[in-house]
């Protein structure tokens, strides 16, 4: 097989020992890369029931099948996996920039980090040389400073660094990993897993070549793909960027506002993509191997946040804008910058601050707890300061750093009713009360509240289905979207480029040309289905049931108060219709457990023991 290195690097932080293991073509063909490799490696390497902060919880990095090649928008993608400290289920997050290609060029497709170091260290992978380096001088440093200091220490500007900030060190449950300055493996708290291991960063430098099976054929295919990547299918991401969603979703009354108290935001205009680009964006740059580029670098030119610099996307803009009732982009940019510096997920952190604001306004937390901050909706100064308090676990920030699920359990007094999370992971930027297909996608998403495992807002917003209706058939839409996204996350192809691809057949032929492993579209689709099912098995093994495929109480009890979706909510009856249909379509029991026949069909028989451990009526 070509392109794949076939190598898995195992590192034990307890004794510093490393070991290289190998995978074969059958493994590659079954699990493709990225998410497939990550889920498979996690389920096989983590003892069942391990606590996320236990040294036995492996922190896994995996690159995509076509990583390090000229396949558009794919060279540098990578995924990170571990048991999540937020959900106690599958933790996974994806990033890009330059780091991913570097790992493959260093000679590895998968990196498995186990154990816990006695003292702070960072891992330095320099092709075959793998070392643990002292990180005492880096502990406490922001992510950006960490990255620059490591480069300086090693004397090489081309070293790529994936690091945690003070948030990960303090086991903030929403902590993330920052690489290449502006890129984050953001969700599910994987930065806290790194911090729990006394590991500050993974630095990589790779100089090996990535060979492909049919270079000339690949060039030929890429000529066409690059043209598409520069065309209308990606213009949204190249021009306004994802913040274009602000006005779109606001007009559809799908904009999570003030902790889901509304779905429309009166101040949307001044936090819109249009406003951002006119006033703040200084450069749009690209990841390694990307012919479309989307990275909107924004700098605040004046005022109290002068100089604040961040890569701005829709989700964090939603979280620190409408979600916190803030209509100023300078405050939003500052909040995102701080999230990147402290190494905490900007989506979850914004949702947490919004939750804190509602707690404060309802009198559930007081000035003493906020350290004197008037944590009211719309107060951008209090919002910015609260981000720091969460990153440092100061005052009520210590409780909020646990994520909204655990914070609500700590604060109590009915705050659980407006804690916006699924399975422990904070909601993202689609008000699903009036997007019923998307609501199902969120409810069943394997990493908790998430739009990125399915993208099922598409049919709702495009109007190909009645978005206000829960009905049979939505299960199939979500299933197909999920399996398709598994392939994007295993190749790994940037989802912003999804519009340039013509489906499984085309992706399969690129896979074949790159790796030399024959692949059909149907085989590829099935690999996606295999990954979805394996993730489900992992989550079942770690204790999830149908009850966890739910939606936050406010989505099911409080109708959208105004706008075109006024009156919408998802009732328990709606959810049951959607879940029953989804499980049945998936070949799962009414309790959401994959049936034996399905496991056999997908070649997952070895995991049948997981389903057998469930009550008989559940697996029948």
């Amino acid at each position: 097989m070509q392109a794949y290195t076939g190598k898995i690097l195992h590192v034990d932080l307890a004794d510093g020992k490393t070991k290289v293991k190998y995978f074969d073509e059958a493994f590659a063909k079954s699990y493709i890369g990225g998410t497939g490799f990550g889920i498979k490696t996690l389920i096989d390497n983590q003892p069942p029931g391990t606590d996320p902060f236990d040294p036995a919880n492996p922190l896994i990095y995996a690159v995509g099948a076509v990583s390090g090649t000229m396949v558009p928008c794919a060279a540098s993608k990578f995924g990170v996996f571990a048991k999540s400290p937020e959900t106690n289920l599958l933790g996974e997050a994806y990033s890009t920039g330059r780091w991913g290609a570097e790992l493959r060029m260093a000679g590895y497709d998968i990196l498995v980090i186990k154990g816990k170091s006695e003292k702070p260290v960072y891992l330095w992978i320099d092709d075959e040389s793998v070392q643990l380096m002292d990180a005492c001088h880096l502990w406490g440093k922001y992510t950006w400073e960490t990255e620059e200091t490591i480069r300086k220490d090693l004397g090489d500007q081309y070293v790529r660094v994936s690091a945690i900030g003070p948030g990960g060190e303090r086991l903030v449950r929403v902590a993330c990993l920052i690489n290449d300055r502006f890129r984050a493996a953001g969700r599910t708290g994987l930065g806290a897993v790194m911090g729990s291991k006394n590991l500050k960063a993974v630095a990589v430098r790779g100089t090996h070549s990535v060979s492909v099976a049919e270079p000339e054929k690949l060039q030929e295919m890429c000529e066409d793909l690059y043209e598409r990547a520069k065309g209308p299918a990606t213009s949204k991401y190249r021009d306004l960027g994802t913040p274009a969603n602000v006005l779109t979703l606001n007009s559809q009354a799908a904009m999570p506002t003030r902790n889901y108290q509304s779905a429309t935001f009166e101040g949307a205009e001044t936090v819109s993509g249009e406003y951002l680009n006119e006033h703040y964006v200084v450069k749009i740059q690209g990841c390694s191997g990307c012919p479309m580029r989307c990275e909107h670098i924004a700098v605040v030119p004046e005022g109290q946040y002068k100089g604040a610099t961040a890569r701005v996307e829709y989700e964090p803009t939603m979280a620190f804008g409408p979600y916190c009732g803030v209509d100023r982009l300078d405050g939003v940019i500052k909040a995102i910058e701080l999230c990147d510096l402290y190494g905490i997920d900007a989506i979850s952190t914004g949702i947490i601050v919004g939750f804190g604001m509602e707690c404060y306004e309802k009198g559930l937390i007081d000035d003493k707890q906020t350290g004197g901050l008037e944590l009211e909706f719309g107060n951008h100064e209090a919002m910015v300061k609260m981000v720091e308090k969460i990153g440092l676990r100061q005052d009520v920030g210590d409780i909020l750093a646990e994520g909204v699920k655990r914070a609500a359990e700590g604060i109590g007094q009915g705050s659980e009713e407006f804690a916006m999370h699924i399975k422990g992971l904070e909601m993202t930027g689609y008000d699903v009360r009036g997007l019923k297909t998307c609501a199902l996608g969120y409810a069943v998403s394997r990493r908790g509240a998430d739009h990125q495992r399915h993208g099922s807002y598409g049919p709702d917003l495009k109007g190909t289905v009645d978005r206000f209706k829960a009905e049979k058939g939505r299960g199939k839409i979500v299933m197909n979207d999920e399996d398709n996204y598994c392939i994007f996350d295993s190749m790994i192809l940037c989802k912003f480029s999804r519009g340039i691809w013509k489906g499984y057949d085309e992706i399969a032929s690129v896979y074949g040309v790159v790796t030399g492993i024959p692949m059909t579209g149907e085989e590829l689709r099935m690999a996606g289905e295999r990954m979805s099912n394996l993730a489900r098995l992992y989550n079942i093994r770690e204790g999830m049931t149908r009850k966890d495929d739910n939606l936050p109480p406010r989505v099911m009890k409080l109708p959208i108060p105004e706008g075109v979706a006024k009156g919408s909510l998802v009732t328990q009856e709606d959810l049951d219709i959607l879940l029953d249909d989804y499980y049945e379509t998936r070949g799962w029991t009414p309790q959401g457990v994959p049936k034996k026949k399905k496991l056999e069909e997908l070649g997952l028989e070895e995991y049948a023991g997981i389903t057998a451990s469930r009550k008989k009526e559940e697996v029948r």
Partner: protein
């Protein structure tokens, strides 16, 4: 020399996507490897991006520095020709180059320098942002003059209204 063409980049257009490095290494080394590319990108955070290849200097310092006369500048098109038999990878030329555009091949122990792909550089063809151009110093200067004059004219027109 002033009319010899080389691959120049526009700092405003370059986004640091490294596509030039991918296609160069594929063209020249039949595999993807930015460290073997004849054109090298650099990003200085937050947002400075560059892509630099041999600039075909007049009286090229690399040629002068070579102790083995392994480098020679083509009279025809100005590219630096490397004699693989004479080059032993000592790296003096790399130190002499002000732009960091000479690459040592770790396996072969010889250096490689942009040869313009027989007049049709692959990097220029593939650059998604049209940030790379095969151009000569006098043409680059011409363009700068045109830009400057257009800006002046526009400013003058705006001042009148």
């Amino acid at each position: 020399m002033v009319r010899h063409k080389f691959v120049s980049y526009d700092p405003d257009k370059c986004v640091g996507c490294r596509v030039c490095e991918y296609v160069c290494s594929l063209e020249k080394e039949k595999a993807f490897n930015p460290t073997l590319s004849r054109i090298r990108t650099l990003r200085i955070y937050p947002n400075t991006n560059a892509s630099i290849a041999c600039r075909l200097c007049e009286d090229a310092p690399c040629v002068i520095a070579c102790p083995r006369k392994a480098l020679e500048q083509s009279k025809e098109n100005g590219v630096i020709l490397v004699d693989d038999d004479k080059c032993d990878g000592c790296g003096w030329c790399i130190e002499a180059c002000d732009f960091g555009t000479i690459t040592l091949m770790p396996d072969r122990k010889t250096v490689v320098i942009c040869d313009l792909c027989e007049g049709e550089p692959k990097c220029v063809k593939w650059c998604p942002e049209e940030a790379l151009e095969l151009s000569s110093k006098d043409i680059i200067a011409q363009k700068a003059r045109i830009d400057a004059v257009q800006k002046l004219t526009k400013a003058a027109a705006e001042a009148k209204t």
